[in-house]
Amino acid sequence: MSVAAGGGGESGVDPKMTAGIGIIGGLIGVYLTPYHPVLGPLLASLGAVCAIIWGADAIARVASYGLGTGVPSIGYMSVAVGAIGVLAGLAGGVMLGNALFGPIMGVILSAILGGVIAIVGKKVIGMKIPVLVTGTMELTAASAISVLGFSAAIAGGIGMEAIATSVVTTGFIGLLFIMNTMAIQHPFNACLGPQENRVRTLKLAASTGFISMAVVGILGGLFTSKGAAITIIGAIAWFIAMRMFLKASKEEAASVAWSGMWPKEEEL
C-alpha cells in the first residue's frame, strides 16, 4: 500500500543529529518549565517542536521501508504509546516522591513500550523492517517528549497535579493526541516518494511543529502573557519554516515548462 516501499535510502540528515536535537532540546525545554512563568512554558513548547522534528525524521526512517499500513498508523500508535507513557511516568514521579523524575520516566516508559510493540511486530507477526525496533523506540520517545512539552506549556508545570488538572481533565490531551500525531506523521506522509529529500521533509516538520505550538499557545490562554508569547512566536516561526519549505519545494519541483500543460480534450 505504501508508495515509499524500498526503504533505507540515503538521508541528507544524520539520525544522531535529529535525535540529539529532540532529546536534549526537548528535555531541557520541559525541565526549565517551572522556573519562569512565561519563558518556561515557551521553552517547553519549543522543546516539543524539537521532539516533533526528531519524530518526523524517525518516522521517515521506519516508514521508508513500507509498513503496508500507511504512514499515519505508526504515528497514531506512537503518540498513543507516548500519552500512556507520559501519564504513567508522571504518576510514577509522584510515587517516587519527586516530580522531577516524572518526565524522564515517562519518556523511558514510552520507549520501552514502543520497543516491546516493535519486538512483537518482528517476532510474532514477522515484519521484515531492519530498523523497526530502534525506529519505533525513537518515535515513541519523541512522541512522549512532544506530548510532555505541550502539556507542560499549557499547564505551566511538570508535576502530575498541574498536568492532570489543566491538560487531562479539561480534555486538551485528546487534542494534543491528534495534533501531535498530525505534526509528526504529516511531513513524511506528504513528502514520501523516490525523490524524497530529508532536509525538505524536516522543513515541513518544523512548520507543522510550530503551527501546533501556536495552537498550544491558544489553549494555554491567548490573553495571558504566557499564551500570547507562545502563539506569537509559534506563528512567526511557522511562517518562516513554511516559507523555507515552499522555497525548497519550488527549487526541487520539475518545471511544467518542460512539456507545457496537458492539452485540452478537443485538441487530442
Binding site: 500508535m77 513500550l113 487531562v168
Partner: protein
Amino acid sequence: MDPLLMIGAVTVAGVLIGGGVHFLPVGGAPAAIATATGVGTGTAMLAAGSAMTGLITAAAMTGEPLWLILAGGAVGSMLMIGITMMVGNWVYVWGVGTVPASAKVETDPITKYNQEKYVSPGTEGHGIPTVCFVSGIIGGLLGGIGGGLAYWAMYQSLIGIASYATPLKYAGVELVPAAMVAGIFALGLFFVNAVIASYNIGGTIEGFHDPKFKRIPKGALACLIASLVTGLIGVLLIQGGAF
C-alpha cells in the same frame, strides 16, 4: 480495584480490540480509488472513528453495571462503523458507479449472491458487500466491548483514589479526572492494538471471509503481549496517584 484484575481486564480488552480489527473491511488506498473491496482508508482512521464514539458512549454509562458499560461501548462502535460503511457504500454506488462486490469469494457467504460477474476487470472488487458489512459490525462489537472494558477497568481503579475522584469545575461543568484519565488510557490502548492488528493483516482485509483472516491467532497473541505490557505500565497510574 486490584491491580492484577486491572492488568487482566486490559489484556483481555486488548485482545478483543485486536481481534475486532481483523473483522473490519479495511480497504486502504486501493479501495479509495474503488479497485478493492472495503472502506477506502487505513485501520488507524477506522479505529479512531469507532473507538472514540465507543468510548464516549461507554463513558456515558459511567456508574452503571459493567455489562451496561460494555454494551454502551459496543453499540457506539457498531453504530459508527456501520454509518461509515453505509455512507461509503453510497459513494461507491452512486458516486463512483460500482456494484458492491468482492473478488475474494465466488458467492457472498451470507446472501449467496454471485460476486464474480459484478467485479470490474482488473480490480479486486469494490464497495462494501453484505458479508463485509456484517463482518465490520462484528468487528465494531468486539472492539467496542474491548474499549469499554479497558475504560471500566481503569476508571474503577482510579475512582478509588481521592485526588482522581474529586470533580473539578471548568466553565461551570464538573469534570471527574478519573474518567478523563481512563478515557485517554483506553483510547491509547485502542490505537496500539488497532495498529498491531493492522500490521498483522498487512494493511488491508475484507472481513472474516478473507484468506488473511486465518492470521488472527498471531494477531491476537501479539495484541495480548502488547496489552499486558501496557497494563503493567498502567499500574503506575494507580499506584502513583495525582497529588
